[in-house]
Symmetry: C2
């Protein structure tokens, strides 16, 4: 970098962006080269950048499979030692691709940055990020290229982060560096009103509030992990979702502002391959239910949309991922005596369709419209659950597309 | 480990071995499992062990190729960041394979151990090894599984070691820990009098001196890298070469002792695919030659068996790897004017056969016997070079097998 440019950069403190590239984005040398080209252009335009890379698509699974060949239950510390190499490969390749273009860059592992985590191997939480080294590099006009998804515990062991992985790394770095924006580059051009594969008229949102995005992510929108959205909100880091492959403004995730009209439905999230389990409680001493759900949690099974209704008896229903059905039914069978429950019913091939709104979704109105629209299409709703900003419905999987299209149209999402 | 066993181990300070396993030895999950089984047995027998692993065979080349797809001249720091992941994968898998057998083990990167090196990326030299962490683990009955071939420089960057790589790591750890022996596990059962592929009657040596082993390694025996032999000699670490795949005593490399009869030929090392270049100096101001060899060194070309003879003119001959011939001839062509040399001659398809002895090889007797034996077989010797413990001959490649067999027999190596 010429001296004058360096000087002018440090004087006017140009904007600082933390940019995270996921596994598909760095999935081949060609893609790494293309990203390096974009990063180089932004550098030449005076942007200050910190790059965070995931492992190349497929690499983490390859490593997990390698470990799985040794043992089905690998020690979590050793699994982290193993799979953290995936990101280390990406950052070295990205740094080389930048250097080839004359852009000073340096790859850094989570340990080198120092990203301090707790010792929960495989799902560690970031506790603190040292910014000294990163700031020193930025000051020298060197782009830090940081391995996502990893850190070090107080003992110096390699840890990998829990769900949200590399996104969380990017948000944590952006927070620690007070970056202007944390940009998550993906294989889509932003956050959409619903899955464009289901509804071709789906529209990209220019902006969405943290709370709506959190619900969208939690309820099935795969573009961001809910934990990283929550993390960004907590540390007040503006997040932007953009495409790795084409130019565009993407979607800005920020605090509720003038452009987020309260009470409106902003998107429809979808989660497929669910099963629903129901049973009647014959004796309602409710701590017996607590025992059941504690047991399911211990088995690593997440239940969702739990509801309890009462007519002649008290009926408990909940949804689970279909792949867990067999284990849940077996468990219910083994505890049915102690729990004192009636026969267990289940349904398979269900999906959850969730209408997510801004704060204070007008639920009664929304519910009325939903039942009206779905009723007209002959779609039977199995279960409903609502919160301040979402209304979630469980319906048969074969009605997914027609339900999403009808709701997308009814709530005028086509017209954004 | 039961308390009593732990106690007895720490009381009687059982023997400590540093065991290094190369790329072929850890080349598949099956092989890692088989090694883990052997390490577990030794553990149960009370041995204290530190394990050093190379990358799985093929992995380092895969990573180098990946980097090569980005740039032909990758920044050495980034190349080290990239290829050091190979060993990190092996150690995690090995630690898991041990744990599966109930043996406490912990994988450690060069950085975690702390293996301090200088900053010569790609060919770093070890400067110091901290033993605190390793000793603490050994004290607790935990087997440290250390990544070979890597360390960290004062800046905290990942470095990879120069030639000898993981062997050097093992020797350095053995030296720092004052281990009883450093054991190098390979795909052969020890050091042989010559390559058994050339001479089926080749015998495994029970023991060989450091200096003879160093020459054998330098002159073509691939079982050990000369640098790690020199390193072991310097730090007085007894080295043993053994097979990863079968039981046996292998070959002990140690200081000259009673069982190393002085002056005797102990082995025949072979190095193939050489070319020889010769020219006459028309003007003997010898610093001109210095210019030439400095230039070749800059080109990364290693010359060997340089000899200078004088009859009518002064003739300079040297050997090089055949693959370098074209570049050397081009260079000689471009400097022939300034050097003032006569026409350049070259010969291809040559091999070097080196007789290595213990200290004070009786060179005249040996040379006499060599010329007698080779003469009887009609083998023409192109070049001869000797030192205190070796006599090296350059001969045509098509006579390699008959020369090695004849010499092996003549020096009674069959009868060890």
């Amino acid at each position: 970098m010429p001296e004058e440019q360096k000087l002018s950069q440090s004087l006017c403190k140009s904007k600082l962006y933390v940019k995270k590239f996921g596994g598909t984005s760095v999935g081949s040398i060609e893609r790494i080269e293309a990203l390096a080209e974009r990063i180089a252009k932004a550098y030449q335009a005076g942007e200050r950048q910190v790059i965070v890379c995931s492992a190349m698509a497929g690499e983490t699974n390859r490593l997990i499979a390698l470990g799985g060949q040794v043992t089905a239950y690998g020690d979590p510390r050793e699994m982290d030692m193993l799979i953290s190499t995936g990101e280390q490969i990406s950052i070295a390749l990205m740094a080389m691709a930048l250097q080839k273009r004359g852009i000073p860059a340096r790859s850094l592992t989570g340990d080198q940055v120092q990203i301090h985590t707790n010792s929960q191997f495989g799902r560690a939480a970031i506790e603190q990020v040292d910014t000294d080294y990163l700031e020193q590099l930025l000051e020298q006009g060197i782009i830090p290229v940081v391995a996502g998804f990893q850190g070090r515990n107080p003992n110096g062991d390699v840890t990998t982060l829990g769900r949200g992985g590399s996104d969380t790394t990017a948000v944590a770095l952006a927070a620690a560096l007070s970056a202007d924006e944390c940009q998550i580059f993906t294989d889509v051009t932003g956050v959409f009103t619903t899955d464009p594969n289901l509804e071709p008229a789906a529209k990209r949102l220019d902006s969405i509030s943290f709370s709506s995005m959190f619900e969208m992510a939690r309820l099935g929108a795969k573009v961001l992990h809910p934990d990283s959205v929550a993390y960004a909100e907590k540390y007040r880091v503006p997040l932007r979702v953009l495409s790795s492959f084409e130019d565009g403004e993407g979607t800005l995730i920020c605090f509720d502002g003038q452009y987020h009209q309260a009470g409106k439905v902003v998107g429809i999230a979808v989660s497929a391959d669910l099963a629903m389990v129901s049973f009647d409680e014959l004796d309602e001493s409710s701590d017996r239910l607590a025992v059941l759900f504690k047991r399911l949690a211990e088995m690593g099974i997440e239940t969702d949309l739990l509801s309890k209704t009462r007519s002649s008896a008290s009926t408990v229903s909940f949804t689970i991922a279909q792949s867990w059905l067999e284990r849940v039914l077996a468990e219910l069978d083994s505890v049915s005596q102690t729990l004192n429950i009636g026969p267990v019913y289940f349904e398979q091939d269900l999906v959850r369709v969730s209408l997510v709104g801004n704060n204070n979704l007008a639920k009664t109105e929304v519910a009325a419209k939903v039942f009206d629209v779905l009723g007209k299409h002959g779609i039977h709703v199995k279960l409903v659950s609502s919160s301040a900003i979402k209304l979630a419905l469980v319906i048969p999987q074969n009605h997914l597309r027609s339900a999403v299209c009808a709701l997308h149209h009814a709530f005028e999402l086509n017209e954004l």
